[in-house]
């Protein structure tokens, strides 16, 4: 069987504009949440988000190309470039047909739809941008990455709400295992920060309203959690066949073992209370990885900080891991990064990879008051040094989407 290795990392996130900066801040427990600066929130109940600050598209792509891209695609291209540089990835023309992209997103260029609708209503159809359709389409994250890196194999763009980011790694593993590609640039991206989604999610009571203390607002598994903090950003990794990586002496961060997917087939937003759908995805991920619960030392939880998710995920982990549920270290990157929606699974995947690579588990910050319904080891407040042989990343999404992906410390 062809093994799939992680050889390059890229990140554009609210806590760092590179993967090393992201990881250092994740381990240090730095929050990326703050007041929303992108638009006026004076009439809105939610005034906080985890924004990407200081992002300059021109540092990663030419200015004209950036103008033809929505922010979600700019994030993807920037993170992909960082990952390709980190991997020292060089492709010959002969290799390009076997180099693929897999860039998931939840919402694609939803902000373009809202902005161009305003142009249509206020200034008329003649003023609508001819670039609207090819910027907002959700496949443009993948296609722009392929265009910028010259990847001429498949360009995949899974849409699975807040589980999307994990799909890209499952697809990457399959493309390599099936012999379709030798290199897959895989990740998730999201940039949907706009008045409309914030208003809708606030009305759904999904978002934290701790406006006065943004850095304390995302508190997964804490008794006083009151919703998630809306975020944006992208994480992209270079996934490479073992043969190609070894032949060129590439640095290997971890091995991608694959993952499992399921659907609750139950409700548009609420998870199954018995956690059975999510547990099924974790169990399937372990089966595909050829591991048992005893082999896994860390779970990068979905851990949104909504009352429903964290309780259901706790039950799901118990269902999938049995007695090992109390042994395994768990934490929620969202306590620091916020919820990157379609990129969230990729954030969790990066945390899992780095946990295996550095033998460090990042913390769940703001977990100050334990909730009786959340009674596992969520690595509260402080990072932990410990051996991480293998790590799982969970992601769940509206519609009942469940995903879990497993990475392992690499050994030949």
């Amino acid at each position: 069987m062809t093994r799939a290795l992680v050889t390059g990392l890229g990140a554009i996130t609210p806590i760092g504009l590179t993967a090393p900066e992201f990881w250092a801040n994740l381990v240090a427990g730095i929050s990326g949440a703050g007041p929303i600066t992108r638009f006026d929130t004076s009439d809105m109940p939610v005034k906080i988000a985890a924004e990407v600050r200081g992002f300059e598209p021109g540092n990663h792509m030419d200015a004209k190309g950036a103008r033809r891209m929505s922010r979600f695609a700019q994030f993807a291209v920037a993170a992909a470039r960082l990952a390709a540089d980190d991997a020292k990835l060089e492709l010959t023309d002969a290799e390009r047909p076997r180099a693929a992209s897999s860039i998931a997103t939840g919402a694609g260029g939803v902000t373009d739809t809202m902005d161009e609708m305003e142009v249509l209503l206020n200034r008329g159809p003649a003023r609508v941008s001819p670039f609207y359709v090819p910027t907002m389409a959700p496949n443009m994250g993948a296609c722009q990455v392929s265009m910028h890196l010259g990847l001429r194999g498949p360009a995949l763009a899974s849409v699975a709400a807040c589980a999307s980011g994990l799909y890209s790694y499952i697809e990457a593993k399959q493309l390599i295992e099936l012999g379709i590609a030798d290199v897959v640039v895989a990740g998730g991206t999201e940039a949907a920060l706009h008045r409309l989604p914030i208003a809708a999610l606030a009305n759904m009571k999904a978002l934290s309203r701790r406006n006065d203390e943004p850095e304390r607002a995302s508190r997964p598994f804490d008794k006083d959690r009151d919703g998630f903090v809306f975020g944006e950003g992208a994480v992209v990794m270079v996934i490479e066949s073992e043969a190609r990586a070894k032949a060129r002496g590439a640095r290997v961060y971890a091995e991608l073992l694959g993952g499992g997917l399921s659907c609750d087939a139950f409700h548009i937003t609420a998870p199954l209370e018995d956690g059975s759908g999510a547990a099924q995805a974790m169990t399937e991920a372990m089966r595909i990885a050829g591991l048992t619960p005893a082999d896994i030392d860390y779970i990068a939880a979905h851990g949104t900080g909504t009352p429903l998710n964290d309780a259901a995920e706790t039950i799901a982990i118990k269902g999938a891991f049995g007695d090992d549920a109390r042994r395994v270290a768990i934490s929620s990157p969202k306590s620091m990064v916020g919820h990157l929606l379609g990129a969230a699974g990729a954030v969790g995947a990066l945390a899992a990879v780095m946990a295996c690579y550095t033998d460090t588990v990042p913390p769940t910050i703001n977990l100050e008051t334990p909730d009786p319904d959340c009674d596992l080891d969520y690595t509260p407040l402080k990072a932990r040094s410990m051996t991480v042989r293998a790590a799982a990343a969970n992601g769940f999404g509206f519609g009942g989407q469940n995903g879990s992906v497993i990475f392992r410390k690499y050994s030949e």
């Binding site: 200015a63 004209k64 033809r68 003649a126 003023r127 941008s129 670039f131 090819p134």
Partner: protein, 83 residues
Amino acid sequence: MATVFERVRDTIVKQLKVTPAEVTPEASLIDDLRADSLDIVDLTIAIEEEFAEDAEFEIRDEDAENIRRVQDILDFLAQQGLS
């Protein structure tokens, strides 16, 4: 007060991400300024917006088809009384 040419030049620089020095009246939008068909549609919208307060006009598709060089934009604007 900027001249019509300067305003056209600055609009082209902003839309096509070229340098001001490249934008001469003789410059071809496609061959010299690296525009494609979508850029030209986008540019005509930007020109309409730039001059919206000076004159009431619309760059129709048949007008846009004749725009190949920077001078063609200046000629079109002159026909609208802008020069």
